[in-house]
């Protein structure tokens, strides 16, 4: 709420907007009404601003209706639960791999050379897997034709 005061002959300026929006004190409202009765310029300004406000209120500035937003919101829920699912699966796989590696390292039936060879093979496979996965993810993100149906 603005407490700015205006002289009796001074144009009411921004108070016109406050008046339209119902944001003035009773004293300020009366000040605007008295001034507009005597000032054709401010009276015209008030009418024009009121017409502008009404036209904005009636305009359709967004073309997406509520059903679409409801659908999108359902998708948010689906995406969130799916994310949790993937997180659990990946967590389980990583835990299983960790246990496997640990068992492999402490296994006394295999020699150091055999462990190094097996470790290199499995390590190479893991590196290749993540390399291909990374490449695919980058392509998926940057491919501008991904939504084009042939």
């Amino acid at each position: 709420m603005v407490n700015k005061t205006y002289g009796i002959d001074e144009h009411v300026g921004e108070l016109l907007s406050g008046y339209l929006d119902g944001e003035l004190t009773q004293q300020q409202r009366q000040r605007v009404e008295i001034h507009c009765d005597a000032c054709a310029e401010c009276k015209t300004n008030l009418k024009e601003l009121q017409a502008l406000q009404e036209s904005i209120g009636k305009a359709r500035l967004s073309e997406i209706d509520q059903d679409v937003w409801r659908e999108r919101m359902d998708n948010v829920t689906v995406r969130t639960t799916r994310g949790i699912g993937w997180l659990l699966i990946l967590g389980g796989i990583l835990a299983a791999m960790g246990i496997g590696v640990y068992e492999f390292v402490i296994d006394s039936s295999l020699g150091l050379v055999e462990k190094l060879i097996a470790g290199a093979i499995y390590g190479g496979l893991v590196v290749l897997f993540f390399s291909v996965l990374r490449q695919r993810l980058i392509e998926r993100k940057t491919d501008k034709y991904k939504d084009v149906e042939i």
Partner: protein, 164 residues
């Protein structure tokens, strides 16, 4: 407020939030993405909204606005061609439904500053009070009236130029 009540209310506010996002981002699709991201934030962290501190509508609009500015920073440019604010998503059939008055208004909005567009949409399209506008825009409540008045005068002048 429980999550179902929140969902119902967010659906009602999403269209208005989209209108605000369009005014900031200048692009219908990016604006829809911003609102979608804000919905994800609101629904995955419903505790972030405290109904004792105010209404859901201004809170959600603030989340959408912040998301828009994140997208603008990522885009590294807030410059936008005027025509992008005017129904880029509208197909010919939709365009028939849009009145000439709406088109002129959208063009005029695109001609004033982003700050002015936001404050006009928040008040005259979304019906927020001055206190709520100050909250959404993070500005002192005492400056809302003068900023809004200047924005309205600027919009009126542009519309007069179109022969409204």
């Amino acid at each position: 407020m429980n999550i179902n009540e929140m969902r119902q209310e967010l659906v009602q506010h999403s269209g208005g939030a989209h209108a605000l996002a369009i005014q900031i981002l200048g692009n219908v699709d990016d604006a829809a993405d911003a609102v979608q991201d804000a919905l994800v934030t609101a629904l995955t962290r419903p505790g972030a909204y405290d109904d004792k501190k105010g209404q859901l509508k201004p809170w959600f609009l603030r989340v959408v606005r912040n998301r828009c500015f994140d997208l603008l920073r990522r885009r590294r440019s807030s410059d936008m061609p005027v025509e992008e604010l005017v129904d880029t998503a509208a197909n010919p059939e939709q365009a028939l439904d849009i009145t000439q008055r709406d088109q002129a208004l959208k063009l005029a909005l695109a001609s004033i500053s982003t700050e002015q567009r936001q404050i006009i949409v928040l008040r005259d399209y979304l019906g927020l009070t001055y206190a709520e506008i100050a909250d959404v825009l993070s500005i002192p409540q005492g400056t809302v009236m003068s900023r809004l008045h200047r924005a309205r005068l600027a919009l009126r002048e542009v519309l007069k130029g179109y022969g409204e």
